[in-house]
Symmetry: C2
Subunit: 266 residues, 2 copies
Amino acid sequence: MYQIGEFSRICQVSVKTLRHYDRIGLLKPAEVDRFTGYRYYDRSQLERMLLIQKLKRYGFSLEDIHILTRAENKGALREALLRQRVILTARQQEIGMTIRDLTLYLQNLEGTGDFMKTANKYDIRLAETERRTVLTYRQRMSVDDFGRYFSKLFERSAQEHFTPTGVTGAIYHDKEFDRDSSDIELFIGVKEEKDTEVMKPRLCAATLHRGSYSTLSEAYAALVSWIEENGYVWDGAPYEIYTKAIWSGCAVEDWETEVYFPVRKK
Amino acid sequence: MYQIGEFSRICQVSVKTLRHYDRIGLLKPAEVDRFTGYRYYDRSQLERMLLIQKLKRYGFSLEDIHILTRAENKGALREALLRQRVILTARQQEIGMTIRDLTLYLQNLEGTGDFMKTANKYDIRLAETERRTVLTYRQRMSVDDFGRYFSKLFERSAQEHFTPTGVTGAIYHDKEFDRDSSDIELFIGVKEEKDTEVMKPRLCAATLHRGSYSTLSEAYAALVSWIEENGYVWDGAPYEIYTKAIWSGCAVEDWETEVYFPVRKK
DNA sequence: GATAGACCCTGCCCCAAGGGGAAAGTCAAG
DNA sequence: CTTGACTTTCCCCTTGGGGCAGGGTCTATC
């Protein structure tokens, strides 16, 4: 039996953490003195602690660990590990991209001395968009997993024998941005006219964004600046068309997104 | 001038976040209506917001961003970016190791069905340690940056013309573990007898740990279990000897650490 | 001019995973 | 018997915001 301090040394975990885990029920001491409240740990706690730390390194929350380590959840653990591996791989690649971006920014900073400059590499064009017939699916959803909802549209398209044109996009109806809950209308282009929605031709300012969505705001900013400088005003819900995305099977740095802002002359 | 909602859409940032940044002074609106409290943003805020998001992606805290983006800190920003690139690179590699470890664990789980097992790959040996003459430096420090303090010892060794034996290690005097503040005594072996400390021969349980320090607790646990099973008791401050570490110039997965626990027969 | 609906405000409490520190109780050795 | 090391509980603090309540404002439409 080890006192909390010794156990802390062995596990390489602070005493505070051990008390925290006791309180949330994640790791109860083998014994607690009824009169003094002293906690005593033994080797079975040690094993469990190693497991907890391992899963924590893998990126699980304490709550997840709590659930996954209940003996009956062996299958769930396996699934969770597989999922987590995907998440970690994605995170690793994102860090790689971040490093490349940082390096570029650093070069720019050293070259120009301007730390505001964010490499405004966006070609803005003014375009009368073409008329599109589309299937749509509108719902309040998180911007992070809207990709998952496209399958609904593709299923419907297949079931009802539509002919997809290959266009996939999303309209952002909310004025404000909320990562977890936005009023998003997904659309996929189809050839048929019957039982479809129509996107009418509109005057838009548009540009092409390359790379992951975490820097999309730069495209938005470039568009909005352009609109203001050229005497237009923003007039309607902006939308994006995903010409190359995760489902195109290409690497994230090759993704391409077209961003459209409906505008009118001021 | 944009209302907070529009500005939120443009920057891809929630309204809550904008209000938060206003409150902490990171991004003040261009104008606040004195009567209604409405916030109005314009394009210079937009540029600043892009910068903030960029630095946030690079892993800086809002406070760091606040400080680094004051115009007079251009030099500090460059330094910080260079440091951050190192940190990101390290993080990326650590994720890589984590993924490999996860994969191993997953295979083990699928093979044995035992989710407790943590691959007990440690050979424990009982050893009478040799007598060592050492230079030491003892201080309360974080376990994460004790490496930095070794330079003090090497400088002293060089100045006072000692002959290093190549042994570097650390004794952990605290009973308990505290990542940010531990009573650690660093030591480097030297040949001379004069003006040095002496580590007397002691009976120790010892083992060799390979890889990064984040899984050192597994070695500790293995040692402690062995000690208990073989009728010894832990008796004194444990210490580690870093036979291959960051300064050996090898990759993190090839690091080698010997862990010693002083023991006596029960 | 009234009203609805969309927008905005402040203020309060909440999250995870603990850290810091105070005040007080416990244990073992000298 | 005292001292010092160790432990306990309790309360507040951190980062970067999210949720919600209660209430004010703006603009278009009737």
